[in-house]
């Protein structure tokens, strides 16, 4: 009995210091300050991506005017969700990448596709070190008369599609985007669609806000709008009196 107690005590004493020596670097095992969904849609003459301006600290709406969209080059834009500090690290990497091209002055610039591929490799490399950049990223762009829209996640998964969303947007937004998508959408129609998606997200995603930014990439270049608020409507029957919908649906 006594032996048992003393060995446990030794274990207890060594535990915290052993932990320090085994793994002196701390990795991201959970995100702290997070951004929510990003959605994007290809249009006939460009691409639209959008994100709300909220950076949450757990369930706290911590930073309500945080821009999650970035202009990478004149033809490429980036939207990010997930860990905010990791997103800023990614922004830094891209700035350095772009500045190197700038200094070479050989007309070579990163295309949206190459930015997407680059981020895919960076995030895959980090996840392989078990120290992921905890983000979901949307890369949009318009280069050589071609629209590009791709996504990268914290595992380094990369793929392209006509409509894309991250986070809750995959569950609540993608069906709407797929329904609304046509190859001949105009940019303004595209903006309208992503606004609708964010309205729905605001109603149902508790980590969202009705203040968004929209970025577009067209032959005229990349523009990122100032943040603006979406009109919301709360007097739907189902919102006012949730019981009224019980007959038809379970949730």
């Amino acid at each position: 009995m006594e032996l048992h107690i003393s060995s446990s005590a030794t274990k207890a004493e060594n535990f915290s210091s052993a932990q320090l020596f085994v793994d002196p670097t701390r990795h991201t095992t959970a995100p702290l300050v997070t951004g929510g969904s990003v959605v994007g849609i290809k249009c006939s003459d460009g691409v639209v991506i959008a994100a709300d301006t909220l950076a949450s600290y757990g369930s706290l709406a911590r930073f309500q005017n945080f821009s999650r969209l970035m202009k990478v080059t004149d033809s490429c834009m980036l939207g990010g969700g997930g860990e905010v500090s990791d997103f800023q690290e990614i922004q830094r990497l891209l700035e350095n990448l772009i500045t190197k091209d700038f200094c070479f002055n050989d007309e070579h610039i990163q295309t949206p596709r190459s930015v997407h591929q680059y981020l895919g490799r960076v995030l895959y490399a980090q996840r392989s070190r078990l120290n992921p950049l905890w983000n979901s990223l949307l890369v949009g762009g318009y280069a050589a008369s071609q629209s590009f829209l791709g996504v990268v996640d914290l595992y380094g998964t990369t793929f392209e599609s006509e409509v894309l969303a991250t986070g809750f947007g995959v569950l609540l937004g993608l069906p709407l985007l797929r329904k609304a998508y046509r190859p001949d959408l105009s940019i303004n129609e595209g903006i309208k669609i992503v606004e609708d998606v964010f309205r729905v997200l605001f109603y149902r995603d508790a980590r969202s806000i009705n203040r968004i930014q929209v970025a577009t990439a067209t032959s005229a270049g990349v523009t990122i709008s100032e943040p603006y608020s979406l009109e919301t409507k709360w007097d739907f029957e189902g919102f006012v009196n949730p019981r009224s919908t019980y007959d038809e649906s379970t949730w």
Binding site: R92, E95, N96, T99, F102
Partner: protein, 250 residues
């Protein structure tokens, strides 16, 4: 040069009895014997220009460039040994990147100049390194400060200028620069002034042909860029024409 051959010029680590470091002075000679390099800080930006002597007729145009982009907001021009200048350009790029990584804002010109000057300076302190055989000009543009221009010589000393010149014919160029009104001068107008100064310094009968290189940062965009070749060609022809007219008038 009475002191040559007295043994004090073999190492940059030894002063001569009269207080000079000959190795550094020789490096300055290397910088002074190259084509004329001029920088001007205007009311709306900063412009650097180089008279790049073409050592062979077979040289491809725009090769061996002497003006370099350092960052979105910083430029550099070299008088003296091209490779030495390129190493400083590379170093300057690293400094700018490092600064941006830490402070997330473009590197201020005075810090960039100070860092590069320090780098040049340490190369004048040790026997196992050779001083840089070049003088470099650094132009930057900042949101609050606007444009600024610095020149760093092989000793590592650096100063901020309205206008500066290095290389062959720098005396004449300096005299010309002193006549300019930098409070009024715009970058666009400066191009012609620089072309005139380089043209005046160049003796066609004696010197090898040259290529004019120009780089600038203008306030309207705050972004560095090489001056487009057609603009350089225009001001160069204009400068040559003005010179001919002047000759005729005499």
């Amino acid at each position: 040069m009475a002191s040559i051959g007295t043994g004090y010029d073999l190492s940059a680590t030894t002063f001569s009895p009269d207080g000079r470091v000959f190795q550094v002075e020789y490096a300055q000679k290397a910088a002074d014997s190259s084509g004329l390099t001029i920088g001007v800080c205007c009311k709306d930006g900063v412009v650097l220009a180089v008279e790049k002597i073409l050592l062979s007729k077979m040289l491809l145009k725009e090769s061996g460039r002497r003006v370099h982009l350092i960052d979105q907001h910083a430029i550099l021009a070299v008088a003296g040994m091209g490779p030495d200048g390129r190493q400083l350009a590379t170093r300057a790029r690293q400094e700018c990147e490092q600064y941006r990584n830490i402070f997330r804002t473009p590197m201020p010109g005075h810090l960039l100049a100070e860092r590069i000057a320090g780098y040049v300076h340490v190369h004048s302190l040790y026997w196992h390194v050779r001083p840089f055989g070049c003088t470099v000009m650094i132009g930057t543009w900042e949101l609050k400060q606007g444009p600024s221009l610095y020149m760093i010589d092989p000793s590592g000393s650096f100063y901020r200028y309205y206008g500066c010149a290095a290389g062959k014919g720098k005396q004449g160029a300096k005299t010309g620069l002193e006549k300019l009104d930098f409070r009024q001068l715009s970058c666009d107008d400066a191009l012609l002034e620089l072309a005139k100064l380089i043209n005046a310094a160049h003796d066609e009968s004696k010197d090898k042909p040259y290529e004019m290189e120009m780089i600038w940062i203008k306030s309207d965009t705050g972004k560095a860029s090489l001056v487009p070749p057609y603009l350089i060609e225009t001001v160069r022809q204009r400068a040559e024409q003005l010179a001919r007219e002047e000759e005729m008038a005499d």
